[in-house]
Every structure is written in C-alpha cells, then in structure tokens.
C-alpha cells in the first residue's frame, strides 16, 4: 500500500510540473493558434541556464532558478519577434518553423553544453517522512510546492490583472479583441514570452531532480502537448487536471505495467483522446 502511495505521490509531484509546462503551451495555442514544438527545448535551456548561473557564476540556486526562467522569457520574446510573427494565419508554417527551431536548438545544446547531464545544486537536501508512511525527497516536495505557487501566480495574473484579461480576450476571439482596442502584436509578443517563461519555470523546478541533456526536449514537448489535448485546447483548468492525471497514470502505469513503455502511455492517451473526444476534458470546439 505504501508503495502505491509512493507512486501516487510521484505522479502528483510530476503531474503538477506537467500542468505548469502544459500551461505554457496552452497559452500560446490559445492566443495565436501556434503549437510551439520548441517548448521542450526551452525547458531544457532553462535547466542549462540555471545550472550555469549556479555553477559558473556561483549564484544561490534560488536566484539562479529565477534568472533562468527570466532568461527564457526574454528568449521567447526574441523568438516571437524573429520567427513566429510572420507565420500568423498559416498553421502549417508555424508548425514547420517551430519544429525546425526545436531541432536547431537540440543540436546547438549538444555543441555548446555537451552531451552529459547538467543540473544546478539542490535547493534542499534530505527527506521527509510523509504522513509516517514513507520517506520522500525534500527537493521533490519543494518542486511540488514551487509548481503550485507558480501555477497559482499564473492564474492570479490571468484573472486579476489587466494583462490577464487581455490574454483571455485574445484567446476567445482575436478579431473582436482587436476591435476593442487590443494591440495584437504587443499582446502576442508578451504572451509568447510568458508561455516560454512557463516552460522555463517548469525547467528550473525539475532540473535539480531530473538533470537535463540535449535530447530530452522532445519528450517534454510531447508530454505538454498530450496534457493540453487531454485537458482540452483552450482550457487552462484542463491543463491542471490533465497534467496531474497524466502524471499519475504514467507513474502508476510504469510501476505496475511496464517502465520501458512509460512514454508510450502518454502517446496512447493522446491518440485516444484525439480520436474519441478531440475537445478533451474541458475544451471548447475549435472554430
């Protein structure tokens, strides 16, 4: 029984980070109908940056993490301006461009950072006794808490600020939002940057637990896509539910069925959802 609870906890912890990562994808998809294939690569870059800042610059891991996520925000702004902006309205092109970008980044990482795993030092070490049932790593618990905090901050941003309102408006209907005086280019720029920053946040939170290598980006991207589809494109709440659900299913599945096929579960879920109920759990129909 305590084994089961351990797997469940793993699933919840990683599920929250899946949700965070998926929010980044969902934001960009919702606002500009662009699927950012390079999402995972941004997660990885955040991990590299936080490791770099902590080790090379000797900064405290917490500061390194924040800086890491911020760097990804800036990088996202640059990407949007240079590459994504001309592809609006043409879905095929944004897919192709972000796919190429992800390959370029992957190879660049291999060249720049080398093939060995990198990670920043842990924020907390040691383990805690969870409800007297099992010992669980503190860094993971910290990761869970951080994930929840960032997600909460995001929802606060969305619901309570002017920028959040604009994001929701543009996600609902771009044209009407523009008619209402929203500057679509500025909003796109910031929205894309924010989406990337969320990927970066997921990256800096998880990297101390799972070190980054140049090739894990694809898995991160695909997992995020599965969560977004599962939760329903256009629904942020769906990302939360979908993320946690996927995390739990993956962990339980890999523990009880087969760990070699762990990645397979998410793809199977993706295809089943797309086939049976493309709108996902909470999504609205795509216009």
């Amino acid at each position: 029984m305590s084994d089961f609870l351990l797997y469940l906890t793993n699933g919840l912890v990683i599920g929250v980070i899946y949700a965070l990562s998926a929010l980044g994808v969902a934001l960009i998809v919702g606002m500009m109908n662009v699927v950012n294939f390079a999402h995972g690569e941004l997660y990885v870059l955040a991990g590299y940056f936080s490791a770099l800042f902590a080790q090379a610059l000797g900064l405290h891991p917490a500061i390194a993490m924040v800086l890491g996520a911020l760097s990804i925000f800036v990088f996202g702004l640059v990407i949007e301006r240079l590459l994504i902006r001309p592809t609006y309205g043409n879905d095929m092109y944004s897919l192709i461009v972000t796919f190429i970008l992800s390959i370029v980044l992957q190879n660049a990482y291999l060249l720049i950072f080398g093939p060995y795993p990198q990670k920043p030092p842990n924020l907390i070490t040691g383990a805690t006794d969870v409800f007297g049932l099992f010992m669980y790593g503190n860094q993971r618990l910290m990761g869970f808490v951080l994930g929840v905090v960032v997600i909460a901050a995001f929802f606060l941003l969305l619901k309570r600020t002017w920028f959040g309102r604009v994001v929701q408006a543009v996600s609902t209907d771009r044209e009407v939002a523009a008619l209402m005086g929203v500057n679509p280019e500025r909003v796109n720029l910031l929205g894309f940057g924010l989406g990337c920053a969320l990927a970066g946040a997921a990256g800096v939170i998880l990297t101390p637990i799972f070190p980054v290598t140049p090739s894990i980006g694809v898995g991160v991207s695909l997992t995020a896509f599965v969560v977004v589809v599962l939760g329903g494109m256009g629904s942020f709440l769906g990302c939360l539910v979908g993320g946690v659900l996927l995390g739990v299913v993956e962990n339980l599945g890999s523990a009880y069925i087969s760990s070699a096929y762990k990645q397979l579960f998410s793809f199977v879920i993706l295809i089943v959802v797309l086939f049976v109920r493309p709108a996902g759990l909470f999504g609205r129909r795509q216009t």
Partner: protein
C-alpha cells in the same frame, strides 16, 4: 513535352553515375535517391494536400523493418519482403489516415507525431524481433551485394515514384488534394469529400515511404531505429522546405543538394543537422518557396519575362 525531355535527360545522366563515381560518392548518390523518394512523397502529403505529417520516417521504418525481419528471421526473399513491407506501410497509412480523419492542422500533426513515436518505442523495445538499437542485419536484394545494382534498383524506384506523383498531381485526385490544402471549407462546399481525400493521401504516401525504407534497408544491410526517428523526419522536412515545398522538383533538388552538402560538412564534424536546421529556418522565414522558387524568380527576371 519539355518536362518529359528534361526528365529523360536527367534519368540518362543519373544512369551513368556508376560508371564514373567512386564507391563513396555512389553511396552518397544512393542515399540521395532514398531521400528523393522520401521528400517527394512527403511533399505530396504536406506540400500538396496540406497535411503536415511527422510520421513519414516511421512509414519508411515500417517498410524497412517488415522487409528486413521477414528476410533475416524467416528467410523470405527480399523482393517478396519488399512487397509485403510496402503493403504493411500502406495499411498503417490507412490506419493513420482513418485516425486523423476528422482532424486538421495541429491535431493531425500531433497525432502523426504520437503515432511515429509509438512505433519507434515499440521497435526499440521489442528486442527479440528487431534487435532494438543494436540494429538488424538484413540480406541484400540478390545474392551478391553490389552498390551498382542497388543504385539502379533505387533509381528505377525513384523514377516510378516520381512518375506516380506526377500522374496523381495531374489527376482528379491531385486536384482534390490541392483543393483540400487551399481551403477545406471551400473544397467541401464544392463536393470534395475532404475526409476521404485524407485517407488516400496517407495510404499512397505511406506506401511510397515504405518502399523507400525497404529498399534503403536492403541496401544498408543494417536497419536501426534511426530510420524511424524524428531526426530522419527532420532531414526529409528540411530537404523539402529548402528545396521548395509545394513544387514538384523542390524536394528532388533539396534532397540531392542537402545530401551532397552533408557529406562535405561531415569532414568538419557532425554539424550538418545544425546547419541544415539554420538554413531551413532562414528559408522558411524569408524564402518559403525554397531554392526552386528563388531560382525560377531569378531566371524569370533574367530572361525578361514575368515570373
């Protein structure tokens, strides 16, 4: 008629390759032929029907592994294995097309991505059948292995595939492909069963990729999961995009050009993917018509007529 003359001349030129190219460059040419088949068929799917599929490399892998396993484990003659490989690839194309039948754009691409990764994971893990990442050794076409023979077999296959693509594009099916690509709503209102166009597109291009994969496997004599990977998929995509997506010769030019280029770059290190990626980014961003588009504009300006 001019197109046919050019094609025959090109074919003739290619046919002379084994006479003067050394073993190394002949190998490069053969790999180039493989990529011509892959890029052209992917172009038919993505460039002419608007379905950006990431499963293309997976279909090649299915063709290669089916034919390879049948030959290596069951002793089937490679030609028969090839036919079966193509058939299986076509069947999976049918499955994928049916799966994607109601989706467009993003959803379709994600599904093909998931499909491709599922296949790759299965192939890597089912070690007993596929020898996983260690690679499966397969026999060549005829008893004796010969680069020249392989070259001509692949050249014949390329000619067949390109001829088929040309015929399809000129046919009613091809027109409905393009209609669906341009505007699905308009196409549907014209009576084109959009849904039923997707499935043939996947079946036909899947079969072509399967053919390319089987031939490639029997040429390389060793099949690894790399043939199913997104890396290969990326090369195919980059070749099509850089050559000129949505044109007939674009993928051909792209495949040959990039394959030759990658051999030159290889001397300096394994940078070719990065460089291709950067070039592909620039092309996709600034010159979406690719090399072919740029060339035809330049030629048009030079010859003084409207491009």
């Amino acid at each position: 008629m001019r197109g046919w003359t050019a094609a025959l001349v090109a074919l003739g030129v290619f046919a002379t390759f084994p006479l003067f190219l050394g073993q190394y460059w002949l190998h490069t040419a053969i790999v180039g032929l493989f990529y011509i088949m892959m890029a052209s068929s992917w172009n038919l799917l993505a460039g002419f029907t608007g379905q950006v599929s990431f499963a293309h490399a997976a279909f090649a892998g299915i063709g290669a592994y089916t034919s390879g396993i049948l030959a290596a484990k069951f002793g089937l003659p490679p030609l028969l294995g090839l036919v079966i490989g193509v058939a299986i690839a076509a069947l999976l194309g049918l499955a994928l097309g049916a799966l994607c039948i109601r989706m467009g754009g993003i959803y379709l691409s994600l599904t093909t991505l998931g499909f491709s990764e599922i296949l790759r994971i299965i192939v890597v893990n089912e070690y007993e059948f596929t020898r996983g990442t260690m690679g499966l050794t397969v026999p060549p076409f005829w008893g004796q292995y010969s680069k020249t023979v392989s070259f001509y077999i692949l050249l014949a296959a390329v000619a067949l595939v390109l001829w088929l693509i040309h015929r399809i594009l000129g046919s009613d099916l091809g027109t409905s492909f393009r209609a669906v690509q341009n505007d699905e709503g308009a196409a549907a209102s014209m009576g084109i069963p959009v849904i039923r166009v997707r499935v043939p597109a996947f079946v036909i291009t899947g079969a072509m990729a399967g053919l390319a994969g089987s031939l490639y496997g029997h040429y390389l004599l060793l099949i690894t999961p790399h043939i199913l990977s997104l890396d290969l998929m990326f090369l195919v995509l980059a070749m099509t995009v850089i050559g000129g997506i949505g044109t007939f010769i674009g993928p051909i030019v792209g495949a040959l050009f990039l394959e030759a280029l990658s051999e030159y770059i290889r001397r300096y290190g394994e940078f070719h993917v990065l460089i291709f990626g950067l070039v592909a980014l620039v092309v996709a961003r600034f010159a979406p018509e690719g090399i072919v588009g740029l060339l035809s504009r330049w030629l048009g300006a030079r010859l003084g007529r409207a491009a």
